[in-house]
């Protein structure tokens, strides 16, 4: 957070020094009244603010605000105007109380400075009133956006025939108060082009334009709106906006910046959520705790930000990296859903808003168990991938069934040897509440090690019930002491490898016990010593696995080490005849292939949506320094948002996020609805009702139409959080349908059109521009979902090198939201159009105009190629007549026929230089790049 107070302190420091040297001169001229701002405040700042300022208020005394300074502190009033002898402040700085000399730290004030204070108090202690923002900061919780949403009465307006819905009443009331009239309605071609780009991010097709022009019914426009809201293109358009806000990219960022090939399911989830009009409160809850709500991909939100892949044995660096990851999650959660700059409280209390540093770390504790990375998900039963996986598992079982006949008598199943990496124990489904793993020998005689123990629920959609994050509890015979990387809690933390493992404290033996959160049917246990495959010692080689269903015992055995072949030996199949041998070889080959298929499909079931582990304690960090931990904090929400959220220190990981998600989406939370309806307004009009869409704090903008904001927010809650209804309300308003024409007299009053006397024209965003060029050329591929296409050349360097590609094929002709978007690496053609780089959240894109944009649209291979395609399309659809070609081109590109002069100039260009030259020019025209 930018500290204005500390700015101020630094800025005036030289002045204070100067004052000090000139004080004699000042104090001798007794007639001059003491000037607070010039003479007193600088001294207060250097001598007092460090203990009695914005950051700290020792003795509950605060001297940087008039209201608080005169109120005094624990010892009562400290300044009594006109009476220096009764003012504690003077007494203490003058050193009259030897036990309490102020300042307690740093240099004493000089005699001249004390005299200056005395003269100031004697003269009446004049102190200018605090500015509204400073006063608000003193009373941080008095924040407009935290006040309950009140459904406002509709304002009265004079012009009664303008409003089309209630939204317009609010707009018109403000316009009338400013003596401004709204613009007339835009003409139909402009309107359909505007609303089509706005809702689906593509131009209207010629037939859509014709249909609208020909439709004389009173709800012709509403029909267009409803068609667009129902289009799958709608989710693609609005998901792009959302991905800006949540800094989503398909690569990690920082030095290595390797791709995240499994990040796209989150992008697809957002698209689907918008298309299906998922109620916004659920949309929020799923992004925080989707793993508990049947929406695994949604938690891609948590880890959509940058992640430094470069790891080091330096504990300081490791701690800093982790603190930065959590900061990203906390800050983006706060600004995205609550519109509060929670990230500003990382180092100290927020200067202006009611966000204590403690709040920041309580939120950090909520996310403390979220790790970057891929996790296996339970895909929906009917998804093709799920079917494929089930089929592959079935095929493997078939092969193993056939193999059984090659087992010698007494061998009950196809035994694989115990592996250091991973072992699977299958058994008939059994009710279990407790699972015990008792080891009686290890392969090298030393203390045995298990890196992860997973207990799988029976049925079609097995889940690992052993995770601490799900609430499972652990016990053990003992743990090798003194190693941070070998702890009992690593047994069920969801993390693989020696660095996250449990090691027994006894050579060759030990037991662990997991208590599931609830009794469940289980049929499979998987475990390993080092799933990363690096270490092969300490492998348990003699063990028994038992379950108990209600209390910890009596125990029932479900698997044991003797179910496996001895380590290092192949499975003991026996084949006698040549026919049998060849049959066995064939089956073993099939088994190998089937295993590989299962492994691959299971692998593909992973998405970049975070891994969840039970975290240790979270501490407040002094000035945000991860190497300066202070007291432990418990997970919780912002103290200013009521009712409070308070969780126990040891709350299970998932429970923390579920609780936060529920807390944020409580109807009492005034921020959630206000922030999202403002975002919708922002994207529809180019400006929010609150101009700072992710900052509803004291430093952000105030709403231009506060009642309208509350009206929309209460509408959203009333309609069950359905966003499409709000979109419809906004785009069917008269305010939205106005023409964009500029009227000089209105411009003079409200240049930015904040009061909406016109529809503010806008340039297309980078993605909409690219999509529209493809739509115009006829090459746009509307395939939805799945892995993204790449706009960069392939590269396998460990520090990924991003070289924009210059040749484009059909796979690059999908909508740009399906680009595999690398972080911090801009695409070579369209990034120049203010495309965010996903390094930081971007709730409001800037719009700038540069000659590089012109060069990219004139000379890039992409444009030349699309110009060729557009030319081919015109020839195909309009025949050889240049006049017909030109007419079609204008209708496709600009939703209007050409004027005569344009037709003549177009034909001249086409005759002299061909259709592609004409098409290249059209792609560059302002008319195609701006929406009016």
């Amino acid at each position: 957070m930018l500290s204005l107070f500390s700015h101020f302190a630094r800025l005036i420091r030289p002045i204070a020094v100067w004052l000090g040297s000139c004080l004699c001169a000042i104090s001798t001229s007794a007639a001059e009244p003491v000037d607070f701002a010039r003479q007193i405040q600088p001294l207060l700042s250097t001598a007092c603010y460090s203990c009695h300022g914005a950051d700290r208020q020792k003795g509950e005394l605060r001297l940087d605000l008039k209201s608080r300074a005169f109120k005094g502190g624990e010892s009562g009033a400290v300044i009594v105007a006109g009476k220096p002898d009764q003012s504690l402040l003077i007494k203490l700085i003058a050193g009259q109380d030897p036990d309490r000399i102020m300042p307690a730290k740093g240099d004493r004030l000089t005699a001249a400075q004390v005299e200056l204070f005395r003269a100031w108090v004697a003269g009446g202690a004049a102190w200018p009133d605090d500015s509204p923002a400073i006063a608000a900061a003193a009373d941080k919780a008095n924040l407009w956006s935290l006040k309950p949403i009140a459904r406002p009465a509709l304002p009265n307006v004079q012009q009664t025939d303008w409003a089309r819905n209630d939204v317009d009443r609010f707009i018109l009331a403000k316009l009338e108060a400013a003596k401004l009239a709204p613009n007339p309605q835009a003409e139909r071609r402009a309107l359909i082009r505007r609303v089509t780009f706005d809702l689906i991010g593509l131009p209207p097709t010629p037939s859509e334009v014709d249909q609208f022009l020909a439709d004389s019914s009173p709800d012709a426009y509403e029909k267009v709106v409803d068609r667009l809201l129902a289009s799958p293109r709608f989710g693609e358009r609005w998901a792009r906006h959302w991905l800006d806000i949540v800094r989503f990219a398909d690569s990690h960022g920082f030095e290595m910046n390797q791709p995240r090939p499994a990040a796209w399911p989150y992008r697809d989830w957002v698209i689907q959520a918008f298309n299906q009009d998922l109620p916004y409160d659920q949309f929020v809850r799923q992004q925080i705790a989707g793993d508990a709500l049947g929406a695994d991909a949604a938690t891609g939100f948590l880890v959509a930000g940058p992640w430094d892949q470069v790891k080091s044995p330096d504990p300081g660096l490791t701690a800093q990296q982790r603190a930065d990851e959590l900061h990203d999650m906390v800050a983006v959660t706060g600004s995205t859903f609550l519109g509060l700059t929670v990230g500003c409280a990382r180092c100290h209390d927020h200067k202006f808003d009611p966000i204590a540093q403690l709040d920041y770390y309580r939120l950090t504790a909520v996310f403390a168990g979220v790790q970057h990375g891929e996790r296996s998900i339970v895909t929906k039963k009917d998804s093709p991938r799920r079917q494929e996986l089930l089929a592959a598992r079935g095929a493997l079982e078939e092969v193993e069934k056939k193999l059984k006949r090659f087992l010698p008598a007494g061998e009950s199943m196809a035994r694989s040897p115990i592996a250091a990496t991973m072992n699977e124990e299958r058994f008939a489904a059994v009710d279990a509440r407790f699972v015990r793993f008792t080891i009686t020998a290890s392969n090298n005689g030393s203390q045995p090690c298990i890196d992860e123990l997973e207990i799988w629920s029976a049925g079609d959609a097995p889940r690992n019930l052993a995770l601490a994050a799900g609430g499972a509890k652990l016990a053990a015979s003992g743990t090798l002491p003194g190693y941070a990387i070998h702890k009992l809690e690593h047994l069920n933390d969801g993390q693989y490898g020696n660095s996250h493992s449990w090691i027994s404290n006894e050579a060759g033996r030990g037991w662990v016990r997991i208590e599931l959160p609830a009794a469940a049917k289980i049929d499979r246990i998987t475990w390993g010593r080092d799933r990363e495959g690096k270490l092969v010692d300490r492998v348990p080689t003699e063990y028994a696995i038992e379950v108990a269903d209600k209390v910890a015992g009596p125990w029932r055995s479900v698997a044991r080490s003797t179910d496996h072949a001895a380590a290092g030996k192949p499975a003991p199949y026996v084949a006698k005849t040549d026919a049998e041998k060849s049959e066995l070889a064939k089956l073993l080959a099939e088994q190998k292939t089937a295993k590989e298929t299962v492994r691959r499909l299971a692998e593909e079931d992973k998405i970049y949506a975070g891994k969840f582990v039970q975290p240790g304690p979270t501490h407040r960090l002094f000035r945000g320094d991860p190497l300066a931990p202070k007291e432990a904090v418990t997970p919780g929400g912002l103290s200013a948002v009521h009712p409070a959220l308070d969780l126990p220190a040891d709350a299970p990981e998932q429970q923390r996020r579920i609780a936060l998600a529920n807390w944020m989406t409580r109807p009492e939370n005034s921020l959630l609805a206000r922030v999202i309806v403002n975002r919708l307004w922002h994207y529809h009009f180019g400006n929010g009702i609150v101009a700072t869409p992710s900052d509803f704090g004291h430093m952000g903008a105030r709403p231009t139409h506060p009642e309208l904001l509350d009206y929309l927010a209460s509408e959203l809650i009333k309609n069950g959080w359905h966003l499409k209804a709000i979109h419809r309300l906004i785009v069917t308003s008269a305010a939205y349908r106005q023409s964009s024409a500029i009227r000089a007299e209105a411009q003079a009053v409200d240049a930015g059109a904040a009061l909406l006397w016109r529809y503010p024209a806008r340039r297309l965003e980078a993605e909409a521009l690219r999509d529209s060029i493809l739509a115009i050329s006829g090459k746009l591929d509307l395939t939805m979902g799945g892995p993204g296409f790449d706009l960069f050349k392939a590269n396998t360097n460990y520090v990924r090198v991003y070289e924009p590609r210059e040749d484009f094929g059909p796979e690059q002709f999908r909508r740009m939201i399906y680009q595999h978007k690398p972080r911090m690496r801009a695409d070579g053609v369209f990034a120049a159009f203010d495309c965010p780089d996903a390094g930081q959240t971007q709730p409001r894109r800037p719009v700038s105009t540069t000659p590089l944009q012109a060069l990219n649209l004139l000379n890039s291979q992409f444009i030349l190629q699309q110009a060729e395609f557009f030319a081919q399309r015109l020839a195909r659809e309009a025949g050889d007549d240049p006049g017909a070609q030109v007419r079609l081109a204008f209708v496709i590109a600009f939703a209007r026929p050409p004027e005569n002069a344009e037709t003549a100039a177009s034909i001249e260009l086409i005759r002299a230089h061909g259709l592609p030259a004409f098409c290249r020019a059209l792609f560059n025209a302002n008319e195609g790049v701006y929406v009016h």
Binding site: E255, V310, M699, A744, R825, D837, A912, A917, A921
Partner: protein
């Protein structure tokens, strides 16, 4: 080029109402409340006055500048201060013994070996007698021009965040680069060239790549344009497949369309600005091609830089150095010249000497030395150093020890050296120091915030008042930190 703006457009763009951030908030959101409150507090942001039709036009500084433009030479991978500019006799004496207190010290790649003397011997240089090593002999000869800061510290000891910090002020991703901040504040005097040019090494880009010249959340117009002597601005030239006459005809037709469209939307300055950007693009096609054409450089100049050297990498870097001079000559505000790239891996194509530092620096030293020294002396002889600040920097330093079991030095953000030269800074001057071993900044420790504050100060900019509102915060290059290092000012 016949794409001059129409009468209507010209009149529109010349109107006074067009000034300021009226278009798309180029200067950020000037919130009335923000301004009011900050004014009361005395440190209100100074919003650059940006003309939307010429967003890169020169703008006044906050106060009289000491330097008009900046050249940053960035050594990617962390150039060892101990083997170049920071002379430590005690390190030579105690070589082969442990760094005191280092038995438990874990740095980026792990444990420490023994203290290791500089791998290149030091000699007094110039009239000042500054001790500089033999790794960079030509640069060393210019010691009397240089103003060293030996007490630099960085916040991170891994390349990504550390390069981010040197380039953008923040260790995190997504913040505007220093050149973008300067373009935003000051625009540029080279009318037809970009205000901020990044010149990647012939071997490729640094670890954090384009983040070094990104606009972050600033408008894209302020981002650096990346090109070098061998790779021109992308899409600058008319493609071969377009005949010159067809290009002219298409652009004339485009202008006709745009003019008619503007007539339909009277008063829309954004449209006029975009028409103007096509004019500028046309002029840039000529001027950028001209600046990148080194064929007019004399044989003596080419030889001075080593542009014909048989070492292809050296010759390539030399051509980039000549390009840097040509850009500065033509008024480009901020030129960032990169030495070293990461495409080839740790230490191979850059200064990241972990395992066999001597072997790698023997390769890298000659690539940078003569060309960079020639650039500095050429700037001086042409009088450009009077108005250009040169900053020679890297992301952090290296350890006085070798890594355990290796012949190279690990990352060390606790102490390293940068130097400046040219406009506004002292000559033959050294500020601050590291301890006896060159391990930690000891006297007058300086942060990257301080370095950036100093750089902005020399350009006439108050680092506390150069800000841009983003997502709840008036963001600055120096975050909430930074003090101008007054000791280095001339």
């Amino acid at each position: 080029m016949s794409t001059d703006l129409s009468h209507t457009g010209r009149a529109l763009l010349d109107r006074r109402a067009f000034l300021g951030g009226s278009l798309g908030g180029l200067a950020g959101i000037a919130l009335a409340g923000l301004l009011r409150d900050q004014k009361l507090l005395g440190a209100e942001p100074v919003r650059p006055l940006i003309r939307a039709n010429a967003p890169l036009a020169a703008r006044p500084a906050h106060f009289a500048p000491r330097a008009k433009k900046v050249l940053v030479i960035f050594c990617s991978g962390a150039l060892s201060h101990l083997d170049t500019f920071d002379y430590k006799p005690e390190l030579i004496r105690r070589a082969g013994t442990p760094l005191p207190g280092s038995d438990k010290l874990i740095t980026f790649q792990g444990e420490q070996g023994m203290l290791t003397a500089p791998l290149y011997s030091f000699k007094p240089r110039g009239r000042s007698g500054k001790m500089i090593s033999d790794l960079l002999p030509n640069l060393a000869n210019l010691a009397d021009e240089m103003c060293f800061i030996h007490s630099m510290t960085a916040k991170s000891n891994t390349h990504g965040p550390a390069e981010n910090q040197m380039g953008t002020g923040y260790t995190l991703e997504g913040f505007p680069s220093m050149g973008a901040w300067v373009s935003y504040a000051l625009g540029c005097e080279a009318g037809d060239l970009p205000a901020f040019v990044a010149i990647p090494d012939p071997r490729g880009v640094p670890q954090t790549g384009a983040a070094q010249w990104a606009a972050g959340f600033l408008p894209a117009v302020f981002q650096g344009t990346a090109f070098n002597a061998d790779r021109p601005i992308p899409h600058l030239a008319r493609p071969d497949s377009i005949a010159p006459a067809a290009d002219v005809a298409s652009r004339d037709f485009l202008k006709l369309l745009n003019d008619r469209h503007l007539e339909q939307h009277p008063g829309d300055t954004a449209l006029a600005a975009r028409i103007a950007s096509y004019e500028l693009a046309g002029r840039m096609q000529l001027s950028a091609a001209e600046v990148g054409d080194l064929s007019k450089e004399s044989a003596a100049t080419l030889d001075l830089y080593g542009a014909n050297d048989p070492n292809k990498l050296k010759a390539g870097f030399a051509r980039n150095c000549i390009l840097a001079r040509r850009l500065l000559e033509r008024g480009v505000r901020f030129v960032q010249l990169f030495n070293g790239a990461y495409a080839m891996g740790e230490g191979v194509g850059n200064w990241d000497g972990h395992k066999s530092l001597k072997k790698q620096y023997d390769v890298h030293g000659p690539i940078i030395d003569q060309p960079a020294a020639a650039l500095l002396s050429d700037l001086k002889s042409r009088g450009l150093l009077d108005e250009t600040l040169v900053l020679f920097t890297t992301e952090f330093g290296r350890m006085p020890t070798f890594q355990k079991g290796a012949s190279g030095r690990d990352h060390n953000p606790r102490g390293f050296t940068v130097w400046m030269a040219g406009a506004g800074v002292k000559h033959a001057f050294s500020h601050g120091s590291t301890d006896d071993f060159g391990y930690q900044a000891a006297e007058s420790p300086a942060t990257i915030y301080d370095l950036h504050a100093t750089l902005l100060h020399l350009l006439g900019l108050d680092h506390e008042r150069l800000s841009f509102y983003h997502n709840g915060i008036e963001r600055r290059l120096t975050d909430v930190h930074g003090h101008v290092i007054r000791e280095v000012l001339a």
